[in-house]
C-alpha cells in the first residue's frame, strides 16, 4: 500500500476533486423527472467522460494508473448516484459537487483497501533516500 505522504495526499486530492467535478456537472445536466435508470446510465457516462480530463490534470504530479483508476471510479459512481438523486429531487450544483467529493473520498479508501488486498503477502520495495 502507498504510504508516502506526497502520493497519499495527491491520491486523496485527485479523487475528491474529480468526484466533485463529476457531481457538479451531473447535477447541472440531469433534470428532475427523468427515468431513474436512464438518469443513472447517462450520469455514469457523464462522470466517466468528466473524469478523463480531471485525471490527466493530476497524473503528471502523482502517477499514472494510480490516479486514473480511482478518479475514473469516483467519476463513474458520482455520476451514477447524483444523476439518480437529481432525477428525483432538484439538486444545486454545490450540493452535487459536495456529494461528488464525498463519493470521491469513498473511492480513495475503496481503492486503497482493494490494493492492500491484491498486494497481501507482497512487501513493497523501500523507497530510495530522498524520494517523496
Amino acid at each position: 500500500m502507498e504510504t508516502r505522504p506526497y502520493f497519499v495526499i495527491g491520491d486523496l486530492l485527485a479523487t475528491t476533486a474529480v468526484g466533485a467535478l463529476a457531481g457538479l456537472v451531473t447535477a447541472l445536466l440531469i433534470p428532475v423527472g427523468w427515468n431513474m435508470m436512464v438518469a443513472m446510465l447517462v450520469g455514469m457516462a457523464l462522470g466517466m467522460i468528466v473524469s478523463l480530463p480531471g485525471s490527466f490534470a493530476f497524473m503528471p504530479f502523482f502517477g499514472a494508473m494510480e490516479i486514473m483508476v480511482p478518479t475514473m471510479l469516483a467519476g463513474m459512481f458520482a455520476g451514477m448516484w447524483i444523476a439518480m438523486a437529481a432525477a428525483m429531487n432538484p439538486m444545486s450544483a454545490g450540493d452535487g459537487a459536495g456529494y461528488g467529493a464525498a463519493i470521491g473520498v469513498g473511492c480513495f479508501f475503496v481503492t486503497y483497501a482493494l490494493n492492500a488486498w491484491f498486494r497481501r503477502g507482497h512487501r513493497a520495495p523501500s523507497a530510495p533516500e530522498g524520494a517523496n
Partner: protein, 205 residues
C-alpha cells in the same frame, strides 16, 4: 515497420516527459529499481526505450541493447543513454521485426510496452525467438483488470486511449503464456492493473 504505431509515438515524443516524467516515475521508482536489479551480466534486450525515463534505474555496468519503434523517442532519450554508466546501445526497431539471430539475448526487459504493441502475441513470440533457451523475460506492465467495475472502466478508457497511445485492457499475462513462455510468475504493483511478469523461454526451444 508498423508505420501507424511509429507515427503515434513520434507524435507523443515531444510531450511524453511532461505527462510521465515526474509523477509516474517517482511513484514507480522503488518498484522499478527492484525490477531492473534483476539485470544480469549477459546480453540484455530492453524494449522499449521511449525517452529513456527508465535508464536511471538500470544497475551500472550492464550490456544492454535498447530498441524503440519511434526515432523521435530515441532522440529524446539520447542524453539519458549517454549518462548510463555501462554499455547501452539504442536501435530504431520494431519488435515484430527484430534484427537479431535466434537465442541472441540472455534476458529481455520490457517496461509499459505491451499495452501498445499492435500484435502482442506475435511481439512476444519474437522476444522468445531472440532469447537463449532458458532465457528470462521480465516485464513491468499495466494490463486490464479482472475486477468489476474496473474492467468496464478500462474497456471504456481503451476506446479513447488507443487513439493517442496505449490500450488499457490488455491481458498480457495470457499473451505471455500464448507466446510459449514457461514458469510464469506475476507480482502485483498496483491492484491487478500494474504488475511485474517474469517468465522463461522454454529450455529446449
Amino acid at each position: 515497420m508498423d508505420l501507424a504505431t511509429k507515427a503515434k509515438w513520434d507524435k507523443a515524443a515531444p510531450n511524453f516527459d511532461l505527462m510521465s516524467g515526474y509523477g509516474p516515475e517517482k511513484r514507480w521508482e522503488p518498484y522499478k529499481r527492484a525490477f531492473f536489479s534483476q539485470m544480469g551480466d549477459g546480453k540484455i534486450l530492453f524494449l522499449a526505450v521511449g525517452t529513456g525515463l527508465d535508464i536511471p534505474f538500470f544497475p551500472p555496468g550492464k550490456h544492454i541493447v535498447g530498441i524503440d519503434i519511434s526515432d523521435k523517442m530515441l532522440e529524446k532519450a539520447q542524453p539519458r543513454v549517454e549518462a548510463y554508466q555501462g554499455d547501452l546501445e539504442t536501435r530504431h526497431m520494431d519488435v515484430h521485426h527484430l534484427d537479431y539471430p535466434d537465442g541472441h539475448f540472455d534476458q529481455v526487459f520490457t517496461s509499459c510496452t505491451f499495452c501498445s504493441v499492435p500484435q502482442p502475441i506475435e511481439g512476444l513470440k519474437a522476444l522468445r525467438r531472440v532469447l537463449a533457451p532458458g532465457g528470462e523475460l521480465h516485464m513491468f506492465e499495466h494490463t486490464g483488470s479482472k475486477v468489476f467495475p474496473l474492467s468496464l472502466m478500462m474497456t471504456f478508457m481503451t476506446q479513447l486511449s488507443k487513439r493517442v497511445g496505449p490500450e488499457m485492457n490488455r491481458d498480457t499475462v495470457s499473451n505471455v503464456e500464448a507466446a510459449g513462455f514457461t514458469s510464469i510468475r506475476v507480482e502485483p504493483v498496483y491492484l491487478d492493473v500494474v504488475k511485474t511478469i517474469h517468465a522463461m523461454a522454454p529450455p529446449n526451444a
